[in-house]
Symmetry: C2
Subunit: 294 residues, 2 copies
């Protein structure tokens, strides 16, 4: 893990030792011997906006308030102008209620949703594409040395991934500093938790970089753009539509980041090539996320 603990740099770092996030489960290994491993939890969380039930998400269960607010924000059900008067989480009922001062347009959204489909991907997509019209992401520059520094720090950060696996990570970064590292079993929950934290703290995405362990799909690209973050980086790959949308909205997408290697398929004009590749270490096999295909 390196000598210093990279978690010190974070505002929010993963807390792999935290109760209720993992469970010790006993089984048998390839030799037939009993073997105990830590397994991540997965529980339903039902999100209400005022009196209206919106969604039930499968989540690891930490930061339910951030997840709820970020989800509603990234769905376009909570506008920038909406004033949040309260967020109440009931951990017996696995319910979180987000209250706003005035009524939101969530009824229209729900109407559209139920008309178009019952599939989060389909509906999320249908709903949030609108939000992209006229979106202009700032021309924030990104040093390639930052990308390598971030990948090295994130891969060495104690996390549920390293202790239990089978989980996604999303990290909000500024320059070469990782600020907020969220993990979740639900692919987009980790991103929504970051969005919820940004909304709660009033943090702008303009000078940020979003790092994800997940693929650069259309939905990831759209969420990042809606969060006002101009740069999305991943150790994983791309989908064609994700690249197309990134180019349309002027988002920088960098994928397949592993050791010295990466490829940028959109917005390369933001990159500053300052890294000395001879000084960049190849990836430590220990930090390779090879078991992590969810």
């Amino acid at each position: 893990m390196g000598l210093e603990n990279p978690s010190d740099e974070y505002l929010i770092a993963p807390d792999p030792g935290r109760a209720r996030l993992t469970r010790a489960v006993t089984g048998v290994d390839q030799t037939g011997a009993a073997s105990e491993i830590a397994v991540v939890e997965e529980r339903p969380l039902t999100i209400f906006l005022n009196s209206r039930e919106i969604v039930t998400a499968m989540t690891i269960g930490d930061y339910p308030e951030y997840l709820a607010v970020g989800f509603l924000r990234n769905q376009g059900m909570l506008a920038k102008a909406d004033v949040i008067t309260g967020v109440e989480y009931d951990d017996d009922l696995d319910v979180v209620v987000v209250r706003t001062e005035t009524e939101t347009d969530y009824e229209d959204k729900l109407a559209k949703k139920t008309r178009t489909s019952g599939c989060a991907v389909g509906t999320v997509f249908g709903d949030i594409m609108e939000g992209l019209e006229g979106l202009a992401l700032p021309h924030t520059q990104v040093r390639t040395s930052w990308l390598y520094a971030l990948a090295a720090k994130i891969n060495r950060t104690p996390s549920l991934y390293l202790s239990a696996g089978a989980i996604h990570g999303t990290v909000l970064c500024e320059g070469d500093r990782p600020l907020v590292y969220m993990e979740d079993v639900g692919r987009h929950n980790a991103v929504d938790k970051v969005a919820g934290w940004m909304r709660a703290e009033g943090i702008s995405g303009a000078d940020k970089i979003l790092y994800t362990t997940g693929r650069l799909t259309s939905e990831m690209v759209i969420k990042t753009a809606l969060m006002g973050i101009p740069v999305l980086a991943s150790r994983s790959g791309f989908t064609a539509w994700g690249v197309e949308i990134a180019r349309d909205v002027g988002l920088t997408v960098i994928g397949r980041m592993r050791g010295k290697r990466f490829i940028c398929l959109a917005g390369e004009d933001r990159l500053i090539w300052d890294a000395d590749l001879a000084q960049v270490a190849e990836e430590d096999p220990k930090s390779r996320r090879k078991s992590a295909q969810p």
Copy 2:
């Protein structure tokens, strides 16, 4: 890739060379040099059951008919008894319509869905848990030598994963033979395509093994059980709820399969320990799915 082509064993093998599944995209690499890579496609497919629009899924686009039928089956919207009179795919509209002889209970399902949530995970879950009551999976035995043989064959099979990455694979297997290998950008689409093929061909799951590149989550476990398949194996990890449900329904779940290693967290009574571990090769780094965390 080995000398013989493992694809010969399959009834349906991936076709990485097939048009419209990948696209060549040019970007810049870590040195600033132009670099072209193959990227998987991702497109919406809207599924109708008779005259009713059910869902819009994001898919790579192959086997839309199998995806539609498998999705409806795994959602519990299409019962075993329902007679399918036609499946029509329109590739201009990206629409597939499944027609049944008599009306199905999809209206109730939809009503429930729109009431509970707009999230596929939440609703799928809500809907299909019912189907698990009284489900009894056969005590099919599984030789550990089969598991190693299957993993070796599947990892060496020419696939979109190997050529483009950022995609999931699900393989229906019988003994040590992989029969149907489906890939998709959508995590559960690959499983639903297998289910659709089984329904179309009238194939029983009783003597089968389902291999997935994805995590063993509650939803994967439930879908496998609903497909009547008693064994689910993955190179990826587990969630606690996935393990819990597998134990409840008597499904065998084997995860973290890599080289010689694996761990079985439910249904180990089906395993026959016949493999000579000294003869099992460690994983070929080339076939390691290390870029594949979606």
